[in-house]
Amino acid sequence: MSLLAVGGVHTFIGPYHILEDVSFEVEEGEIVALLGRNGAGKTTTLKTILGLAPARSGSVVLAGEDITGLPTFEIASRGIGYVPEHRAIFSELSVEENLRIAERRKGDFEARARMIFDVFPDLERLCDLPGSNLSGGQQQMLAVARALVPENRLLLIDEPSEGLAPVLVEQMMEAIRRLSAETTVLLVEQNFLVASRLAVRYVIIEEGRTVHRGRMADLVDDPETIRRYLGAA
């Protein structure tokens, strides 16, 4: 049984039919990259899984349990962590509060702080600063770190490398690689180079449909598919 199974999902945002049949599966412990052009529906797919943009039809199944239509907070508390695009950290809260707010049980933060600060040593130093004082890269690290505070079975990460300096992209990739040792990751990534170096498998979405999927190793050797669905690689 796969950890996450998305089947025939249709999602509307307002009057717009954004997802028109998205289906894929994510196996326990792997990193899967969700690829596609701008506006293809990658972010909406993540939001549909979380119930932020509920599916109108189709199903989302997490470890055998149908979570379609549940309220977002209940879906999240079943063990899904979310790292939204644009570094959506809470700028009014301090770095430590940004991490503490993600606790699902009292003591989560204390229990995981060591591991988190091992992966992101910068954050430990910045603990008392308000989130708004962090640089873009630090905010992105914080957004990922926040998803690690509770024990999650699945992380949904949206565009982690967007707008980061190359050296920070390397650091971020290293962090995600380390995370995948203990949890499953569904990654949306515009930067194909980053995605290809992280993910084991890929799913391509075009105009709201899953049109292609397979092993990342095969996609890298298939410039035709890359050009067709992702533009110039």
Binding site: T72, F73, A76
Partner: protein, 517 residues
């Protein structure tokens, strides 16, 4: 943040806040200038009166700000919750016997609502297509049964027409210490039947509400609460005489604090009811909140008119703030604790209740809510939710539950403001609208979702209004007018609006607000 020196950081801060600083300086100059125009022995009391009105405005504005910041709901009924606090407080303080009589049927009708989750389960058995119809039927039947049943209970009630039994006369009697309990009324149905039918009416209303709502997750049923409320109702009814005697035997100070507690509790309960029953079903349609809360406000105003009558009256000041005779007025700061009604301070005569106690409560609430926001988990969730509700929910936090609590808190603060206002500015059916307007101006001035901004805005509005009222008495000598210009009473709210316009022109997001992201 690449190694900028503190000096440079300060320069950047000054640069960014240039218009804010100059505006604050300009406001300061205006206030100092206007206070300079007031007689020396009076400026301090005008200042303190302004702070007092500011404190009351803050109690309304704080809740409005929290609710608006977190849920994007501008609660137009917030002023009326303030008014309800005043009237409920007055009733508990002045006519505790009536308050007790009324609370018995209210508790009986409210008890079935405590079984909320259980009704939700029942509601889900109704096929979705028929839910709307069944809900309407249940609500209509519930309302009818409740109305009939409640009027069968003994209700000792005053009459606005008969002066001997009018609210204003009762207030006078409390001040003189001559108010006596009224003899108990009687049930017009057998008590058992009245209790059972009121409970049935409440149950029908609760079912209707559960059908209208989305019937969220099933949590532990509050069976204990339901039983507790029913037991409390029966106890209050059975032990009416000793309880009424005991409360009337208390000093007015203790009765006042009892009134504050009950009014605040009522405010919170009313807030929960409004949020769960009326606002929650409409979170997907933001504009409707304005209309629903506006309508609720009208209903509350009319209900208050029907129950307490139109004439304005005041609540007698509790004994601790009403001393006269030898040793009064008190002198200096310690005079505030002398039990006198007034105190001499800095050459001005201040009223201990209005300019002492009310301001003190305002400051305590400011500190307490700031502590709640900064130091508790729910405060952390509120601050985060103001910025990004979706993300908070995506962390696995039930934001809707936080909404209900914040709504209850905001309504309770408004009711607290109302009951505090009752002995100082008095009760009238227009007080809600007046304070709602002041509070909205205070929010706009301070920055819509900023809590310290709400406090600063409320103080500014309160001060400004008192200054205008003061100049309405003495007039302002203007060079191009022969007679001094005396602002008319209608210019008091107009001045607040003018302040808002000036602030918003210079700082579109208010004094403490953050720009739109």
């Amino acid at each position: 943040m690449t190694g900028s020196s503190p000096l440079r950081a300060r320069a950047v801060w000054l640069e960014r806040n240039r218009s804010r600083i100059s505006l604050l300086a300009a406001l300061l100059v205006v206030f100092v200038a206007s206070f300079a125009g007031i007689e020396r022995d009076e400026w301090f009391s005008v200042l303190m009166q302004g702070l007092s009105v500011g404190a009351l405005t803050f109690l309304v504005a704080s809740g409005l700000s929290l609710i608006f910041g977190l849920m994007d709901v501008l609660n137009l009924a917030h002023g009326e919750l303030f008014m309800v606090g005043a009237y409920v407080g007055w009733t508990v303080y002045t006519r505790f016997d009536t308050a007790l009589d009324v609370s018995v049927p209210i508790l009986v009708v409210a008890a079935p609502f405590a079984l909320g989750p259980w009704w939700g389960v029942l509601a889900r058995r109704v096929p979705p297509a028929r839910r709307r119809a069944v809900a309407g039927l249940a609500l209509a039947a519930g309302a009818a049964v409740t109305m009939v049943a409640v009027t069968r209970f003994p209700l000792v009630i005053w009459s606005a027409e008969d002066f001997a039994r009018s609210p204003s006369n009762f207030s006078v009697q409390v001040g003189l210490g001559t108010l006596a309990p009224l003899p108990p009324d009687v049930f017009t149905w057998p008590p058992g039947v009245a209790f059972a039918s009121a409970a049935a009416g409440g149950a029908l209303l609760a079912i209707g509400t559960a059908l209208v709502g989305r019937g969220g997750a099933v949590r532990a049923s509050r069976f204990g609460w339901c039983v507790g409320m029913l037991a409390a109702a029966v106890t209050l009814w059975a032990a009416r005489e000793p309880i009424v005697q005991w409360v009337f035997g208390l000093s007015t100070t203790w009765r006042f604090f009892l009134a504050v507690a009950i009014a605040v509790g009522m405010g919170a309960a009313l807030g929960v009811f409004i949020e769960v029953a009326l606002i929650r079903p409409l979170y997907d349609r933001p504009l409707y909140h304005l209309m629903v809360t506006l309508g609720v406000g009208f209903i509350i105003v009319q209900a208050v008119r029907d129950i307490w009558g139109r004439p304005e009256f005041t609540m007698a000041r509790p004994a601790a703030f009403d001393g006269t005779g030898p040793g009064c007025p008190g002198e200096g700061l310690s005079g505030f604790f002398s039990g006198c009604s007034t105190v001499e301070l800095l050459g001005s005569r201040l009223r201990v209740y209005n300019e002492g106690f009310v301001i003190l409560v305002g400051v305590v609430v400011l500190v307490a809510v700031t502590w709640l926001l900064k130091r508790t988990r729910i405060g952390m969730i509120i601050r985060a939710g103001v910025q990004d509700r979706e993300m908070v929910e995506a962390l696995g936090i039930d934001v809707r539950r936080v909404f209900t609590r914040v709504f209850a808190l905001g309504s309770a603060l408004a009711a607290l403001g109302g009951v505090l206002a009752a002995p100082s500015i008095g009760l009238g059916t227009g007080m809600g609208a007046a304070f709602l307007l002041s509070a909205i101006v205070a929010l706009a001035v301070g920055g819509l979702t900023s809590f310290p901004g709400a406090a600063a805005g409320a103080v500014l509005v309160g001060l400004l209004q008192q200054v205008v009222i003061r100049f309405g008495q003495s007039g302002i000598a203007l060079p191009f007018l022969e007679e001094p210009f005396k602002p008319s009473p209608s210019l008091v709210p107009a001045a607040a609006i003018l302040l808002m316009v000036v602030v918003l022109v210079v700082l579109p997001s208010g004094l403490f607000g953050r720009g739109e992201r």
